[in-house]
Amino acid sequence: MPGGSVKAKAAAWGAAATVVLAGLIVAGSRNLAHFDAALVGYTFAVLFATFGVVYRYAMWLQRPPTALYWRKGWGLFLRRRRTGRNLVQLAGRLAGGFAFNAFIWKRNWARAAAHLLIMWGCILAAAVTFPLVFGWVHFASAPGRLDLYQAYVFGFPAQTFPVESLTGFIVFHMLVWASFLVIAGVMLAMRRRMRDHGAAAVQQFGEDFLPLILLFAISATGLMLTASYTWMEGYAYDFLAILHAATVIFTLLWMPFGKFFHIFMRPAQLGVGLYKDAGRRGEQARCRRCGEEYASRMHVEDLIEVERRLGYRYETDAAGVDHYQWICPRCRRRLPALAQATIWGDGPSAARPNE
């Protein structure tokens, strides 16, 4: 696909998603009746981030290997006879992989602990912040009762709870609890990045430190706001509110470009899991050199197509091989050594092109 049309398609998806979100904000806040004008900066930052994230996602989906997994993953998930089993597997993978980060714990405990704390802190904060910013959720005193708070969701009355209660304390400090989780996670991650020689060799400021600095800045300035109105009679509150907004808005604007984009890429793991399961159930590919099974036939055939689309030319006229993708990884490791030995034995004629 020409580059221009790929970008145009991605831009169209980005614009459509932004318009849809803007429409949902207007509808969910009852024609902006419950929209907090003080949070308008956050709203526009979210709209920009939506455009950026969807644009990048659409660009990413148009890469040949990604497009293949996207198409095949959904096809396998929606296959009629397996929908029930797929849903059960999906629930298991969501719980193990996403909720508990099981695979990260196996990699490294410090990385996993940091990731789990940051992830749940951010989920909690997002679940509170976005509905409030969009005017989808707001709180008001219950009619005729100053000691009771009423939560409204999309303008409809929901739960009521006493202002002076444990529930009220927990609900109104939800962002504080989120900050504690994020700060603990950031500290663990920073510790690892400052002490791990392996990480130090490849880490980059923009890719690895900036996200941690931003998360810490959001959490710390948010806690300062709480401290200001709780214990310091609102000292420097306006300045802190602007500072906090700046950190959040910068993070939202940067979200499509940096490490946070992995949040949106990661669910591809679910489609890959389905693809691998289907591959294991299906016919296996045998290496055309050693005869051993080494992958699913579906995977090998799909890779041949992906490589062709990427412009690789691994086709070969070698008898019975057809494409180098039909050679297993183990034989691929042996063949260069054999080729070298042949050159030492026969000279350049041994390395004549076979095409």
């Binding site: 990699r107 350049p348 390395a351």
Partner: protein
């Protein structure tokens, strides 16, 4: 950055199968406790010849191109890194597509890992762990001048051909000086099959005759 004047040279014919590289590799800080090097018997049934396999760090890495998660990156100095942990979805595309069969998949970790030329060391001008311990010179990290002095009958080559695809690499393979082909035709080495069908005596796939080994092992300068 890996200094420009330092290069990685491999000479599989010199491998004695001692496994030093395998154990040293797991000492590297970038993949602690896990060895990324492969040590393969070329044809276990008919020869004791082994070959160490490190990442060749292709100029246009197929592993990175076929990665659906865009997780594999090549540094400006040409070193292809292991998959970025936040992105890798363990699809195995890279494992199957690498023409040299290098990446390793770790299903439990949902992660692909591969030789990264011990980037914590090589980017600081130090030898990768495997090259530090290799007693036979099958794995050598140094300057072009050093390798020319140590292997006066060899010269490095970094172009390989797999079918119609040519692949240029950062890591170089030693071939006979003055008889170096334009590229190493890997598929041509496949013409003899491991089952021996159609093989000429002494030219079987996996069988590396002693005279060939001697030619590369005991050149002037030897294994200094």
């Amino acid at each position: 950055m890996v200094p420009d004047h330092l290069m990685f040279f491999i000479d599989p014919n010199r491998c004695i199968g001692c496994q030093s590289c395998v154990h040293a590799c797991s000492e590297c800080d970038t993949h602690k406790g896990m060895s990324m090097i492969h040590l393969e018997y070329v044809d276990r049934q008919r020869s004791v010849q082994t070959a160490p396999v490190v990442c060749m760090h292709c100029d246009s890495p197929t592993c990175a191109e076929v990665c659906p998660a865009d997780a594999i990156k090549r540094t400006p100095d040409g070193v292809v890194q292991s998959a970025r942990k936040p992105r890798c979805v363990a699809c195995n595309n890279c494992v199957l597509a690498c023409p040299f069969g290098v990446p390793k998949s770790n299903p439990g970790l949902e992660l692909m890992m591969k030789c990264d030329m011990c980037y914590d060391r090589s980017s600081a001008g130090l030898k990768p762990m495997c090259a530090t311990v290799c007693p036979s010179g099958a794995l050598f990290f140094g300057t072009q001048e050093q390798v020319e002095m140590l292997r006066p009958r060899s010269e490095p080559i970094n172009r390989f051909r797999f079918g119609r695809q040519e692949v240029a690499t950062k890591v170089r393979m030693m071939v006979p000086r003055g008889r170096a082909p334009e590229f190493v035709d890997v598929v041509a080495a496949m013409e003899g099959r491991p089952d021996g069908a159609g093989d000429e005596p002494g030219r079987g796939d996996g069988f590396v005759p002693v005279d060939m080994l001697m030619a590369s092992l005991y050149e002037d300068g030897g294994s200094r």
